[in-house]
């Protein structure tokens, strides 16, 4: 203590020296008078019994007398709360440091001290350990790496003292990452605590599992937790924790949590006396029922009756769970969310009760508030919004939908910004319901007004979303023009999105295409920087395909180009359109060919290489369209600045076009430079391209193209023009890795050839999608061996793999998509569970990956015996100083080790009968998620690995397959049968293998593919 009291003199408190709010308590707005309780102050030192704050007291500057007026809360401090802070912490606290350097210096000193204490000969007592661990946590909070102390924390776990155990668990929850080698030790401690039957310890252990949530923990405990959850003698607090713990494990690795007889008992927790248990159970069921709706169906009626009891209760009935006069708002919201997982209840009585509830909530919204506090209205409206979401989800009660819409309409003009925001958001979903679309449209003026006047960008963005959602043919012109007007002042952050929306609406609802052309050109004029390639490619496609608009488009771009400063995108569109259709306006002397040319050429020197390349193509087209410009244009092409241009692309174009224009006859020129043909429909062009490119043998090529719209535009984006680089080899292209150009360099090939690609992916999400979620990507690999496993803004991971017998080799390609080097790049492969798959990385990957570069890693894989969980790939690196990490499932599934087996119908049936034990068979009936195409199905089954046997099943629509899974230890024979039912859009899949878990696992894997 002595040491402490000598210090404060030199210290100061940065955050408390100037802020005008400093006198307010954290909660001042909820308390009668801020002045009466200036809580948010460092405590004044007048109370010696409150010694624990003394070391912390700031030097009270005389110019801030109000600080000392603080009425000290500690006077009435209950003894239990007057707990001792860990002293010495203030030394650690750079709160008192004057500069960053001083902070770092002090922290390093402190770290050295703690390190020496941990390493010292003298055994530390529990209290000291606790203190130092706590200091480490604090240092970590301030953003410094902590690389020691983990072992000490683990040791604390086995302490008998609650507080030591507690801080140990805290350290581990915050600081230990999921693939630490300490996990085994930690798991041991958790196991002991779970078995201790001491509810406090059990809760600590459950908290730790939930907070770390790693796969290893899941494997160790997923089976125990359901037992704890439904055990009759578990305390309420343990049940609560167990429910959420299970939920967390399920979210992290659903395959580890087996459904079982406990599920029925979980549903009955909705009836529990303790509302906290109900709250936790609702969260758990909401998550579980998404994958297994039938198992949890009984929860509907229980949830409805629980909800009805809460909604109809008086504000005092639920006592502690009443929050600012609203009974159990959190639980009500959760119950309403749970009901949104299901269609409206079938049972008329349940449905009636539910509708009554919904009506009660809507009615209550009209009652005068029971309190003026914002918390009251917040809680009430939280329930109301969730009720409206449920009504929208059911989408079957026109009466309720219209009431919901009216309620939201009221909120649109509410003085609370939060409510306006949420109302706009909910209305967006309401707009897509046929019952309420018209009702939503009546609010158009309010929404437009919101777009213009809201102070908050988030709200304006919601307004723009809603306008987009409510747009139809009747109001498209109004909405598009309002959005265009808004664009002029819109926040930079949302401009690109608005541009895309305008472009989509303009195209979707265009009655006459001149309006469409005007709109897009306006877009470029107003927000040229935000008009992505997709948008201007699209206008070119549409103009090319519709001859009624070509003349108008030529005239309009010609006029637009006359502006003294016009955006480069305008030059691109102008160049392209005049090159194709300039002849349509050449009759007018004001836009005669020489005028057109000189207008374009006046922009030439200000443009980027890509645009200049496009303009050169326009010039050669001009030579064809207007022979009178030939001499001028040849002069331009011949100029040293073109023929000897440092840029290869420009130089090549200039040389080739110059030669073409001099040697080719008029006829040849006219043929070569003919007007572009109409662009083909999107699907056909892309499918054809894929088929051409991948060639035969790539079994998954077909569905590859169909399922991956995002890769289409990537692949297309770098389709080289004939004049540029050589065609990439098919395998490299399959990986799509060449497809990510370094961001700094614009694609050099933005010539005409590039425009062949339809760049609009489905729907509004035309921004470059970053591909499927890792889980989806993983599932795709079940039936194929090559492709992109993962992609985000920074990194792309491609996979190429081959498997033979029980061996496999996998190439992983890591592409750095940024222009910045990745440091400490380390991809590692871990095998969860027993070492059933044996993986040897052949060589280490370089620790640095340069911007735009790609590195390769090779894995050799040996399957020792059958396995269910795939190995995990964990990639860590630093990007611009920030550590990045991700963990992915490697696409190694048991079916990769399939060896197809051909056999005759007789053999097949004989073997089928041999495998007739109930546990040898796994069957699944499921809805088709993709169009039911026999060819695609065949390709998938072959990709899955089994042989396809014809003439076995009497029904030719059905598929029958056979194969052997090869592992080092054993072979597993496997027969499968897939029966599509086109009418019901369902499949039935039956698998029989000699090993029970393999049947089930294969069945799961394969069922997700259709």
């Amino acid at each position: 203590m002595l040491q402490l009291s000598t210090r404060p003199g030199r210290l100061y408190l940065p955050s408390l020296t100037e802020a005008p709010r400093q006198g307010r308590s954290l909660l001042s707005h909820s308390l009668p008078s801020p002045a009466a309780s200036p809580l948010f102050h460092p405590r004044a030192p007048h109370n010696h019994t409150c010694w624990q704050k003394r070391g912390l007291q700031p030097p009270v500057a005389p110019q801030h007398p109000e600080r000392t007026q603080k009425r000290h809360g500690g006077l009435g401090l209950p003894a239990v709360l007057a707990s001792r802070p860990l002293h010495g912490l203030e030394h650690t606290s750079p709160y008192f440091c004057k500069s960053k350097e001083a902070e770092i210096k002090r922290i390093n000193k402190e770290l050295a001290n703690i390190r020496s204490k941990f390493k010292g000969d003298k055994a530390l007592d529990g209290y000291s350990k606790k203190k130092y661990v706590c200091k480490l946590l604090f240092i970590f909070l301030l953003g410094h790496d902590i690389d020691f102390g983990h072992m000490e924390a683990v040791n604390l776990l086995s302490s008998n003292k609650y507080t030591e155990k507690q801080i140990g668990y805290l350290f581990i929850s915050v600081l230990v990452n999921s693939n630490s080698e300490l996990i085994r030790l930690i798991n041991n401690a958790i196991k002991n605590d779970l078995a201790s039957r001491n509810p406090t310890f059990m809760c600590l252990a459950l908290h730790c599992i939930a907070n770390v949530g790693s796969r290893e923990m899941g494997e160790a405990f997923a089976a125990d937790i359901p037992r704890i959850l439904v055990a009759g003698d578990s305390m309420d607090s343990v049940k609560q924790s167990a429910a959420l713990c299970l939920l967390r494990l399920y979210k992290a690795s659903p395959d580890l949590v087996p459904m079982g007889e406990w599920t029925a008992r979980v549903v009955h927790l909705l009836n529990d006396q303790h509302m906290g248990v109900v709250t936790a159970a609702v969260s758990l069921i909401t998550c579980l029922c998404k994958k297994n709706p039938d198992d949890f169906k009984t929860c509907i009626s229980l949830a409805v009756s629980r909800l009805s009891r809460i909604v109809s209760s008086a504000s005092t009935d639920l006592q502690d769970y009443t929050y600012y006069f609203v009974p159990a708002p959190w639980l009500s919201v959760k119950l309403l969310r749970l009901l949104q997982c299901y269609p409206p209840p079938e049972d008329a009585a349940v449905k009636g009760r539910l509708v009554e509830c919904l009506e009660t909530v809507l009615n209550k919204a009209q009652e005068p508030p029971k309190s003026k506090k914002v918390q009251h209205s917040n809680a009430k409206n939280a329930i109301l919004f969730e009720t409206i979401s449920l009504i929208i989800h059911y989408d079957s009660e026109p009466n309720l939908l219209v009431r919901a819409c009216n309620q939201l309409g009221q909120f649109l003009q509410h003085r609370e910004t939060n409510l306006r925001y949420l109302a706009l958001e909910s209305m967006c979903t309401l707009a897509s319901s046929e019952f309420s679309h018209e009702a939503v449209k009546t609010h158009i003026d309010t929404v437009i007004n919101a777009l213009k006047t809201e102070r908050d960008v988030s709200v304006r963005q919601r307004a723009a979303d809603l306008l987009y959602a409510m747009c139809d043919r009747s109001n498209a012109k109004q909405i598009v023009s309002e959005m265009l007007r808004y664009l002029e002042t819109a926040d930079y952050a949302i401009r690109e999105e608005i541009v895309l929306k305008v472009a989509i609406l303009a195209e979707k609802y265009a009655v006459d295409y001149s309006w469409y052309v005007d709109t897009i050109l306006n877009l470029i004029r107003i927000a040229g920087d935000y008009v992505s390639e997709e948008v201007w490619y699209r206008v070119l496609q549409i103009v090319t395909n519709r001859d009624d608009v070509q003349g108008y488009a030529a005239k309009t771009v010609f006029e637009a180009l006359q502006a003294p400063a016009c955006h480069e995108n305008m030059v691109k569109v102008g160049g392209y359109i005049l090159g194709e259709f300039g002849n349509l306006i050449a009759g007018d002397p004001r836009s005669s060919p020489p005028v057109q040319f000189s207008l374009l050429h006046s922009k030439f020197h200000l443009c980027s290489v890509a645009t200049r390349a496009l303009l050169l193509s326009t010039y050669i087209k001009f030579i064809n369209l207007f022979p009178e410009t030939k001499a001028t244009i040849q002069g331009v092409l011949r100029a040293g600045s073109q023929l000897r241009n440092a840029d290869v692309e420009l130089q090549q174009r200039a040389v080739e076009y110059l030669t073409l224009s001099s040697v080719a006859s008029t006829d040849v020129l006219a043929t070569v430079l003919e007007e572009m043909p109409p662009f083909p429909e999107r699907e056909s062009s892309i499918l054809a391209k894929l088929k051409r490119k991948k060639g035969p043998g790539a079994g998954s090529a077909l569905d590859d193209g169909r399922r991956d719209p995002s890769s289409n535009d990537i692949n297309g984006g770098v389709e080289p023009t004939p004049s540029t680089v050589s065609t990439p080899s098919p395998s490299a292209d399959l990986l799509g890795l060449r497809a990510a150009p370094p961001p700094a360099a614009p694609p050099a090939s933005s010539g005409a050839g590039n425009l062949l690609v339809d760049v609009f992916s489905d729907g509004p999400a035309a921004q470059p999608s970053l591909g499927p979620t890792p889980e989806e990507a993983f599932l795709r690999f079940v039936c194929k061996n090559n492709g992109v496993l993962f992609e985000n803004q920074l990194l792309q991971i491609g996979v190429k793999s081959e498997f033979r017998q029980n061996l496999g080799r996998m190439y992983l390609f890591y592409g750095n998509k940024t222009s910045v080097q990745f440091q400490n790049f380390s991809p590692t492969v871990v095998h969860p569970g027993d070492l059933q798959t044996h993986i040897l990385p052949t060589k280490r990957v370089a620790a640095q990956v340069d911007g735009g570069a790609q590195v390769q890693q090779v894995l050799n894989i040996e399957c020792l015996r059958d396995f269910l969980t795939p190995p995990l790939l964990s990639v860590r690196f630093r990007y611009g100083g920030a550590p990045q990490s991700l963990t992915l499932k490697l696409p190694v599934t048991i079916n990769k080790f399939f060896q197809p087996t051909e056999m005759a119908a007789q053999d097949f049936f004989q073997r089928w009968k041999q495998l007739s034990l109930p546990q040898q068979e796994a069957q699944k009936i499921f809805k088709a998620n993709h169009p039911m195409d026999a060819e695609v199905t065949k390709a998938k089954l072959l990709g899955f690995g089994s042989a396809l046997l014809d003439n076995v099943d009497p029904n030719p629509e059905n598929f029958v397959g056979a194969g052997i899974i090869q592992t080092k230890a054993l072979q597993v024979g496997c027969l499968l049968r897939l029966e599509p039912n086109a009418q019901a859009q369902m499949y039935r899949l039956t698998l029989r293998t000699s090993k029970e878990p393999v049947s089930r696992h294969l069945c799961e894997l394969l069922a997700q593919q259709f």
């Binding site: 940065p14 948010f40 912490l89 909070l141 301030l142 507080t163 924790s241 936790a280 917040n378």
Partner: protein
Amino acid sequence: MIQAILVFNNHGKPRLVRFYQQEIQQQIVRETFHLVLKRDDNICNFLEGGSLIGGSDYKLIYRHYATLYFVFCVDSSESELGILDLIQVFVETLDKCFENVCELDLIFHMDKVHYILQEVVMGGMVLETNMNEIVAQIEAQNRLEKSEVTPRWA
């Protein structure tokens, strides 16, 4: 689900940081601070900061109390207003446990603040919203602690 809980003061100094699905990233804390700081007090308490943390499905929901910002990053399965209430519950609980909580309590009782938070949010899911229940749990912990403490400063 709650992806992260960040508490920082008006100067951006982190006071409580808890990530539930990924490792703590100081950069996220800093950027979130800059996003939140430039917002007026009267505009809405939700913002899309998704690209920072979990992707576009995630929202930042925050509340400003005196010198501290409380920011929760949540996905679309949570109700926005519900989370605002939850923040209020958390702060009121802190206030009860610390008798007029102030920023310094968060610094010098960091462990305690974590324990209180753990009674409210567990692994990103809400465990308990009843303030009295939470306070009772904390008091029980304090009693346990007290029974274990042997005075050392005498």
